[in-house]
């Protein structure tokens, strides 16, 4: 089992390295001259040459790749051409804000999804079950911004005006200091991922409820509540963990749209600004960080899967 985990670990590292090559090569194709972009009006040939030397742009691409890769390990993501400062200063606070938002969304969506999945499975074949199924199918189809705008219309502007529609934290104040502004972005992201968790939970729960050991427990007179919580649920949660992980990894991408919609000062917002300003170093850094989050979450899910699988446990 340890070898299996080790192998997954190595694979994750290789994948991240390959992603870094892809991201770096993509930006090599970019037309334009970063030094000229930074200097703007003050661009003289000498200054451009000096800045190129300072940013190592006069070196061959392969050398620059290794400089860049080395920088990633020590938190040096290069210079932002639009703000002029180091990328790490621009992103560090935003990374924390985004992670907080993602965690909140996870905390809301996982119990929500599991709860509705179980509810649906327990009422299998009834009207309640089909209501949950229809709602989750519809929600699952909707892009993030559609859900977000529906919520804003409903709760912030047109129908009820109970929550702020956008995040307006003064500079330097962390957005979670203003909890009412976190509610809508969190619900939006939670509603995006919860339907998938609910559907998977329902499916595995139905499988488990159909099994011999649940029938056995019922036949020997175990109270229904205990049958579900102690006999069925632990078996049903295993496969759901994988889906939860995939959904949380999906949040790493979905958070971009939610942040833009609610003007939440996170990584996604930074990424969109950077794309608009063609700020290559920031785009590289954000893509790399998002990919890292994605890979790490998947790795954790796999390790949990390996650890919780009794067949793999006994093989070692």
């Amino acid at each position: 089992m340890r070898r299996l985990i080790l192998r997954r670990l190595v694979l994750s590292v290789v994948i991240l390295l390959a992603v870094s090559v892809v991201i770096f090569c993509a930006t090599l194709l970019l037309p334009g001259d970063p030094a000229r972009a930074i200097l703007g009006q003050q661009a003289t040939p000498e200054r451009i040459a000096a800045l190129n030397a300072e940013m190592d742009l006069d070196k061959p691409a392969i050398v620059r790749y290794f400089y860049w890769l080395g920088g990633l390990f020590v938190g040096d993501f290069g210079y932002s051409t639009s703000s002029g400062g180091p990328v790490s200063a621009l992103l560090s606070q935003r990374l924390v804000s985004s992670l907080v938002l993602m965690c909140l969304a996870a905390i809301v969506s996982v119990p929500l999804g599991i709860g509705f999945g179980i509810y649906s499975a327990l009422h299998h074949g009834t009207r309640r079950d089909s209501a949950v199924t229809w709602v989750s199918l519809a929600l699952a189809a909707l892009p993030e911004f559609v859900i977000g705008i529906a919520l804003v219309t409903l709760l912030a502007t047109s129908v009820f005006q109970v929550l702020p529609a956008v995040t307006m934290a003064p500079p330097g104040v962390a957005p979670w200091r203003l909890p009412s502004q976190m509610i809508l972005p969190t619900i939006t992201l939670a509603l995006v991922v919860a339907p998938y968790i609910a559907r998977m939970m329902r499916a595995t729960m139905l499988d488990v409820l159909d099994s011999g050991y649940v029938e056995m427990a019922r036949l020997k007179g175990v109270p229904e509540r205990r049958v579900i919580l102690r006999h069925a649920l632990p078996h049903a949660v295993g496969p759901v963990a994988q889906v939860i992980a995939i959904q949380l990894a999906w949040l790493a991408g979905g958070v971009v749209v939610a942040e833009f919609l609610f003007r939440y000062p996170g990584m996604g917002q930074a990424l969109i600004d950077a794309v608009n300003f063609r700020d290559v170093q920031v785009v590289q850094a954000v893509s790399m960080i998002v990919a890292a989050v994605y890979v790490v979450v998947n790795l954790l899910a796999d390790i949990v899967g390996i650890l919780s699988n009794p067949k793999l446990r006994s093989q070692s």
Binding site: T27, L137, A141, Q242, V257, Y294, G305
Partner: protein, 314 residues
Amino acid sequence: MSDSAAVALTGDGPGGPDRSDAPGEEAGAVKESASRPVPILRRVWAQSEGRIGIVLTAVIVVLAFAGPPLAPVLTGHGPTEFAARPFQSWGLFGTDELGRSVASRFLAGGTLLVVYAVAATAIGLIVGAAFGMLAAYAGGILDAILMRCNDVLLAVPQLVFAMLAIVVLGSHGWVLIAVIGLTHAPRVARVARAATLNVINEDYIRAAEMYAMPRSHIIFREIVPNVTGPLSVEAGLRLTYSIGAIASLSFLGLGMQPPTADWGLMINENRIALSIQPWGVLLPVLAIAVLTIGTNLLADAIARATASTNVEGL
């Protein structure tokens, strides 16, 4: 490489592996060899999900294609013409942020979204299916290399990948189609590979190999017809995500560029006035919602229909 690694990086975002559960309910139904199977369209139509999905999708598609010629006729203004002062209650749905008719822009704004989404889905399906089937059929080192490349591509979320491409290549229509299509490809390839592995050991493939049929012939005549079921489910799903992704990019201001009339872009342009003149946002949101729900219901119905040839009773 272990299979668990492959499973872990499905990276499918919403709609990933849980879809496979849907068909489970009819698994008990057995196809009777004597009777001819019911055609798939009728099996989809036989389910309420399928009917509603088809109707919803059809409504928006008709709107998207009939809208552009009708827009100037019905509203008296073209989608990029100045009609009245910005954000006024002019005509049926008012004016947008530049004083253009919201109704006219709404009618004209769906065509590109639908066309781009279908094109991106087609690219994703063709490229993904080709690589997936090739990997499964070739096996060995080629399979391993292709699937590891897949894992790498899956490690970057679709929207982030699209943004990377837009930074490098600019936001042109072909870039949107190509990048959304190509980011679908590894996800489709996974499904195609799994479906192909299921049929590859069947006797009729062995027989075809014994007769020394060319590989291309085996792939196109023997394998393709047997993997169309999972692939058609995948097509519906990918279409839903293509619509979502392209509309999202336009909403972020990175997709369709002004002054194009486009639903995603309209939402971006008009959302500052959501509280005073909401139609410029709500109409396109509604249209995108109906379209994606429709295609998703359709995908789900296709999944059930392909899982069993006997769903008349649903």
